[in-house]
């Protein structure tokens, strides 16, 4: 499926999705509430068949926190990037997709560890790298560590 049909197909499912500029992949910004629904459809409908979540990353855009899902279909060889954003910096949360793509389980724990974004219904929402009592979320842009990180 090429990007245009793919986009049309997804807009059918989630009309609120907005396209973002990207040369490489079709990138869509979704409302967070629709994420799990769409993910399920992306995985299960045979003509989409996005079965491989090949990257899952958190990004801190200062105003917003975002999670970026890179998806690929091993059958049809098409790729898609979906993004969800939230303004809430104190208690950000999204729905988990680890029941759909199992690899998300570890990646979501990593995002929680680094950005403090919680994933609802995740089976094991703990920090993965840092100790449980670590203060702050290091990959956020407002993370302050006076001892170790030098600002030039």
């Amino acid at each position: 499926m090429d990007n245009e049909t793919l986009k049309a197909r997804i807009l059918e499912i989630v009309p609120e999705a907005q396209q973002e500029e990207n040369k490489q992949f079709l990138t869509l910004l979704l409302p967070a509430a629709k994420l799990h629904d769409l993910a399920l459809k992306l995985k299960n409908s045979p003509e989409l068949a996005f079965d491989f979540l090949f990257c899952l990353s958190g990004v801190d855009y200062i105003k917003q926190l975002a999670v970026v899902y890179h998806l690929r279909s091993t059958q049809h060889k098409h790729a898609l990037v979906i993004k969800v954003k939230t303004d809430d910096r104190v208690n950000p949360n999204f729905d988990t997709v680890c029941d759909i793509w199992r690899t998300a389980e570890f990646h979501e724990r990593e995002i929680y560890d680094m950005f403090g974004i919680r994933f609802n219904n995740h089976p094991d929402m703990r920090r993965i790298f840092l100790e449980e009592d670590w203060k702050g979320y290091p990959l956020r842009k407002d993370y302050i560590d006076e001892v170790n990180i030098v600002e030039f």
């Binding site: 790298f129 840092l130 100790e131 290091p138 993370y143 560590d145 170790n148 990180i149 030098v150």
Partner: protein, 180 residues
């Protein structure tokens, strides 16, 4: 390296023993000779430097020639811990415990820039211990990222020389040497 340069080590000169009872110094010499030629390392490698340590133990460089023969998986049977690789905050307590589990006399070699000072992760890393000497006392430092196997061999030879200066009759001097 020339023999003369190898012999030239100011730090060790500081600890040179003078005097002593003929019998006891002979016993010391024998014991130290034995000890220094059978230093068993602990299999402890956290990252990249560990691969160079493996390479040193393998066919080409073969540090069994120096009596560093048997890798021990348990700290209780090891004499020397070669800290090969970065130590991070989460690992530091584990390393301390490993060190505490080793029986005396025990030695530490800090291998690689990371173990010496934090190395490439000195700046801007929030989770790296800047030098393993914050956690455990170090006997020999080997710089390099990673140090070549030859460098590790040289470090081991320095450690052996250090062991040869120890005395069973003067544990306080051993204290200076081993414990700092």
């Amino acid at each position: 390296m020339k023999e003369k340069d190898f012999r030239d080590n100011e730090t060790l000169d500081l600890f040179k023993r003078t005097g002593g009872n003929f019998l006891m110094t002979s016993i010391d010499a024998v014991i130290d000779w034995g000890r220094s030629n059978s230093v068993w390392p602990l299999t402890f490698a956290t990252s990249c430097c560990g691969i160079e340590m493996m390479a040193t133990g393998a066919s080409r460089h073969d540090f069994a020639r120096f009596g560093i023969e048997v890798y021990r998986a348990s700290p209780r049977q090891a004499d020397v811990i070669v800290v090969a690789g970065t130590i991070v905050n989460k690992m530091a307590p584990v390393l301390k415990r490993l060190y505490d589990q080793m029986s005396e006399p025990r030695y530490v070699i800090a291998m690689g820039a990371c173990a010496v000072s934090g190395g490439p992760f000195y700046y801007n890393s929030y989770h790296v211990v800047r030098g393993v000497d914050h956690v455990i006392p170090v006997d020999v430092y080997i710089p390099g990222c990673p140090p070549r196997p030859e460098a590790l061999l040289y470090g081991i030879m320095q450690l052996q020389r250090k062991i040869k200066l120890e005395s069973i009759t003067r544990p306080e001097q051993t204290m200076i040497l081993g414990k700092q």
